[in-house]
């Protein structure tokens, strides 16, 4: 067993345990931190696959950006000591059964299928190749998705600001019937 195997099993184990903890932890802030561990371990797997640029993007955007955003919104919308409401036991059991059946089916399919890798020489995913491909408009270029994603990010930013902006003529919280909002 080489060091690579040990690294892989370490990352895989931490991904599985922390993603289970993310969806089962009663405290919301803790499950956000477990999600951070999952994303960092995924970045580790990208490093193992030698995709350094993608791993750096994963660390900065996911672990640095999205997790901070989620933690901010958790702190804005709930108390730290508050525990999450759990679904009824019946629903939990049926979800677990469906999920187990789906994962067994998928894993069996994976092991039955024989993957045939290409024999063409590998291209290295260094920053030079990645940057060239990202702005190239030739057959293997990605200029159009690059532009589309930039416009999508701009639209999302404007939309998020407009949505979260406080407005006077929105629904007044005192107008909402408390009986409706605290039902169940």
């Amino acid at each position: 067993m080489s060091l690579n195997d040990i690294m892989f099993y370490l990352f895989a184990g931490s991904i599985l345990t922390f993603s289970l903890l993310t969806v089962t932890s009663r405290r919301i802030l803790r499950s956000a931190v477990y999600l951070l561990f999952v994303l960092v371990s995924t970045a580790g797997i990208y490093f193992m696959l030698n995709y350094n640029f993608l791993a750096a993007v994963q660390l900065t955007v996911y672990a640095g950006g999205i997790i901070v955003l989620i933690i901010f919104s958790i702190l804005l919308t709930s108390h730290v000591s508050e525990k999450a409401v759990v679904a009824p036991v019946k629903q939990q059991i049926f979800s677990a059964l469906a999920v187990a059946a789906g994962s067994v089916l998928t894993i069996l399919t994976i092991f039955k299928f024989t993957f045939t890798p290409t024999t063409s020489p590998a291209v290295e995913a260094n920053v030079k190749n990645v940057g060239r491909a990202l702005v190239s408009y030739n057959r293997d270029g990605f200029a159009l998705p690059f532009e589309v994603i930039s416009i999508l990010l701009l639209a999302a930013m404007v939309g998020a600001i407009v949505l979260a902006k406080k407005e006077k003529h929105l629904v007044n919280p005192s107008d909402v019937n408390p009986e409706n909002t605290t039902k169940l």
Binding site: L49, I66, F111, P117, L153, K166, T181
Partner: protein
Amino acid sequence: MIDNIPLNSFLVISTLMFFIGIYGFLTRRNLITMLMSIELILNSVNINFVVFNRFLYPNQLHGHFFSLIVIAVAASEAAVAIAIIINIYRNFKSIDVDNLDQMKF
């Protein structure tokens, strides 16, 4: 660096992560934790793309760029979703899905 690790073990990891995310999406009642489950699902799909790219088609970088684009979409989705969640909290003082039945027909 990854020669002695089979492709299937990566795929099993991402499958399990995907279905754990679905389990969280089905059983959670809080909007933010449901959003976190969606992030898990997107992340497992990213692992799939990258692993297929590396093991089966190392002569191209398509899976790599698809993952990059999925990460950008996930970031913008999280930003808009959190803006909506904060707005819901401002109006209803709660972000549990059981309480949000105002638009129910």
